[in-house]
Symmetry: C2
Subunit: 363 residues, 2 copies
């Protein structure tokens, strides 16, 4: 088994994690390495569930925080092993950005911050990149909800090493137009369902995005066709066309409100809900969030809204305010050219360490 060296710096540790291939459903090796390394630390209590590893301090502090990151990656795309470009300070490779840089920061903090001012629960979990039913954080929230109980949570999702608060919800529907089949040589005997979809696409093209401001952050919704299909044969007027639509909604709307909006938007067409996940309010008015922002960013902290959906929404559902704060550009996630600036990893480690130690980070 590959051993992890928690005395190494976070960049070296990131490379060790990246070089243990861990595509979703294949996290045994990396979880074993993480578990072994954490069990060697006497100040932590370690629990394993599947390929999810939880390590906690139990110092009886007045508050508890969660710091979480997923161990899995999307499939390999000729981007392993890792490669460090010393000249530019960029670390290249699958998972460098999403999100083993963040995982390395977690492991470094777990190993070295033995007397945090908050009790800390470190969560390194499996299967974030695939269907929700298998998500390690979700499974843990069902099997051991007490392990996730906390006053605040930090998710190490890539956010350019600045705080991204909340997240937008996402919902998918199939919008269906219907018609009547006919031979295309006598098309006037039928009704073309693809032609009928013009109305659906016109509405989408004319859509104007809502941009609500929540806790001072401007979100930005989106309503997009992400797929379209129709057609029976090259000589048949088609009787069905299906437009798959993805609605990304700001966290002031519930899933039910989002579905009602979409239903109304496409009325009277038949729509079918195929997927839905709630957003998460930024919750920046909560004391624990305020304290985190102050500690991490200072008075002039940059805080951005999170447009994509992340597991912060799960914490929100559990009643735990949560933010995204991790190294790497989220736009590079899932790309072949995925990479992370070394400076991001170092900044995240420095700021989180200062927060956990009740100090002000050196900026």
């Amino acid at each position: 088994m590959t051993a992890l060296d928690l005395t190494a710096d976070a960049v070296t540790l990131t490379r060790q994690l990246v070089d243990i291939e861990s595509v979703s459903r294949n996290e045994q090796q990396i979880a074993d390495a993480v578990e072994t390394a954490l069990r060697a630390l006497p100040h932590l209590e370690v629990v394993r569930r599947g390929h999810t590893v939880v390590a906690r301090t139990t110092l009886g502090r007045a508050s508890r925080v969660v710091i979480a990151g997923h161990l899995d990656t999307v499939p390999v795309n000729e981007n392993l092993p890792s490669r460090l470009d010393e000249a530019t300070g960029i670390l290249h490779g699958l998972g460098t950005c999403d999100m083993k840089g963040g995982d390395a920061v977690i492991l470094r903090l777990a190993a070295t911050v033995t007397e945090p001012v908050h009790d800390v629960t470190y969560v390194l979990y499996e299967a974030e990149e695939i269907e929700s039913e298998l998500n390690g954080l979700r499974l843990l929230s069902v099997s051991d909800p007490d392990l996730l109980a906390a006053d605040f949570a930090v998710l190490m999702e890539p956010s350019n090493a600045v705080i991204e608060a909340g997240c937008q919800g996402t919902l998918r529907v199939d919008v269906r137009t219907t018609g009547e089949r006919a031979h295309s040589a006598r098309s006037w005997r039928g009704v073309n369902a693809i032609h009928a979809a013009a109305d659906v696409l016109n509405r989408l093209a004319a859509y104007e995005a809502r941009k609500p401001v929540i806790d001072g952050l401007e979100y930005h919704e989106g309503l997009n066709a992400v797929g379209i299909r129709g057609g029976v044969a090259g000589n048949v007027v088609p009787d069905e066309c299906v437009v798959s639509v993805n609605y990304r909604f700001a966290p002031d709307r519930s899933e039910e409100e989002a579905l009602a909006f979409v239903t109304d938007f496409f009325a009277p067409y038949d729509i079918t809900l195929t997927d839905s996940a709630p957003g998460a309010l930024p919750g920046l008015d909560r004391p624990a969030a305020k304290a985190f922002i102050e500690a991490v960013g200072g008075a002039d902290a940059e805080v951005n809204p999170k447009f994509g959906w992340t597991d912060v929404a799960r914490f929100t559902t559990l009643g735990v305010p949560a933010v995204n704060f991790g190294p790497g550009d989220p736009m590079l996630a899932h790309k072949q050219e995925e990479h992370v600036p070394v400076a991001h990893i170092e900044r995240c480690e420095r700021e989180l360490r200062a927060w956990l130690q009740g100090e002000e980070a050196q900026r």
Copy 2:
């Protein structure tokens, strides 16, 4: 080998042909049966090419006519063997309409009209229902063009036992819209190619069909989306959408003119021609066609335009005026419930016999 009985009536013979399964590429058995039956007739010269059988009189008449039908069918769809409903006079089964009823008429005429007023070339050919390269009539026009030389041709395509003249051409293009990919959570960074296709569908929905009158027949064009596809993943703004369009054009337009029309119609979008076949002018002003109409239909003959594409277009290309005249409703072709009225088969046989014998049919 199943033997065909050319002394039986045309309906019985239709059933014999239907009950020899002959899906395209599997015509050996039916072609063997047809060849054997025709070779037994001393007044005919028989030639076989692949699974296409040609039988000719060589009486030295001043004129020669072709009567042609294809032997293959579309795939079996729980509609074999044949079933005759005596009460309604309807014969059910795969190929009854398209077009073994017509083939039976050909075989009956070949067997019994030994002294026609025109020399006759009977053609029973393979692979009409599949890709053009395999079409038996096309192959024959390349290998033995002299066998198709004639003053007039009758194709036994289902046409409700009335004359359908000419045929419309057909052309398919892919119309492509493009955009720029982006994550759907930040969709404003991309350009949605499916939304862009609204313009293409709007033009199709607003299309008004041209209905030119040619030789007194009103044709009816059609421009239809027969397929649409687009989409990369459920969370990606798609960068391409392709609408497959089928243009059915009246025979006063060439393929080149049809393509120019479609190119102009969808300008400036990128279009790709995927398929094209010319129409056939009705040619009702040609003496041989006039004589046929008079013989078959009388002074008040009903002649309709053919909307669908048929092999009459091949005869037109060879310079031979041709019409469709066969038993069965073309709307039933390729349907599971395919069937043919016995009266259609009998009418076609009676009228063609009278024409070949220089008599007036009893109406």
